[in-house]
Symmetry: C2
Subunit: 219 residues, 2 copies
């Protein structure tokens, strides 16, 4: 069994009982504080751009105190990334093989767009990691993302074979969905500069993406 309290690849044992006993209330609270602060800082400045001092300040704790709860900067980053992966894959997992192809895919697009709006920090954290060659998260990608991706590609290919979708490359369809939805979180600084501040970017984006993918999938 995997102990949810312990992070990624660890050898040391800074918290004497961490691997065995239940985390105390204060432990839960502080780990949460740290991870939340780290998400903020890492997503804004990238792994190397972030400093433990910044994270400590954001969390309202001292730097050594942070290192009491995590084995180091890398440990915090990896913990964050691992936790993120679950939520990240969720919308794709929910794509239902028994449902209507067009409806399922359009719903997936909307769920992805919702995530970009509600979790922009997570999106940027992930984007930054991939952008730099996924040095820390590649194993996670191989073990969790790749199988799911292959499974859903096969599903979409089947839908195409059955004539329930027009001919298209499932892999590139998924890439296009990821790219267009995450764009609003990852490139937010550019988007907000180019959009008139007046109207709701995400609302109009939702309409546009629905239009685009509807036309693609019902040709």
């Amino acid at each position: 069994m995997y102990n949810a309290c312990k992070s990624g690849t660890s050898e040391k044992n800074p918290l004497p009982e961490k691997t065995q006993k239940k985390p105390s209330r204060i432990q839960q609270r502080n780990r949460r504080l740290i991870l939340d602060a780290a998400l903020e800082v890492f997503s804004r400045h990238g792994f190397r751009g972030a400093t433990l001092d910044q994270i400590a300040a954001e969390a309202g704790l001292s730097k050594p105190n942070i290192l009491y709860y995590f084995d180091g900067k890398e440990d915090i980053h990896l913990t964050l990334l691992s936790q993120l992966m679950e939520n990240w894959l969720d919308p794709l997992v929910e794509m239902n093989p028994a449902g209507d192809p067009v409806k399922e895919i359009l719903a997936y697009v909307q769920r992805k767009l919702d995530m970009a709006r509600e979790l922009p920090r997570e999106s940027r954290l992930f984007a930054g990691e991939i952008l730099q060659g996924a040095p820390r998260i590649r194993p996670e990608l191989e073990h969790h993302l790749k199988p799911l991706f292959d499974e859903k590609c096969a599903l979409i290919a089947r839908w195409v074979d059955e004539g329930r979708l027009p001919p298209l490359d499932p892999r590139h369809l998924i890439f296009s969905i990821w790219a267009t939805t995450q764009h609003y979180a990852d490139f937010e600084s550019q988007v907000s500069l180019l959009m008139d501040a007046a109207d709701d970017t995400y609302a109009s984006a939702a309409r546009h993406l629905e239009t685009m993918f509807t036309r693609l999938l019902t040709a």
Copy 2:
């Protein structure tokens, strides 16, 4: 007149004649070496992740020698970004108001995809900067990108008004083009992990994007 030899926002004058006289042959060569090395390093590790030592090693020069040609790390980065902006906007500039709307936009998509394939380092450098809130390039975005964006949005809106394109939001159309094409460069590590290494990713991506935007624009 803007002196191409001088970089972004500078006050100091490390090269005595740089602002006035023509750059010597050796000066041209070394500045080029440094910028090329810096592009490599910055695009792989981001601004803060890159070190002058890495850039120096990659360029085959010593660190102080690099600081003889540039005012500092920031100066190199900004120079790179400014030079990039031109090439980056070029494909959009080329979108011809007198041409056929669908053809023009599809051609733009292909040009953008070509750029992602041929200049992935530039794409990632730009993406990294935007991802972190465009702290160094925002003025360039405002002065160069924004006016061009607005102009082309107006053009596309006119095409829609004239009934030569189906109803759509020009802003989100452009975002979708940027997102889907740059995705192949910016998220290359993920894409290459998910695609079977066998087939040509960019070739199939080109077909997919042509299909997708054709269906969107000819509905």
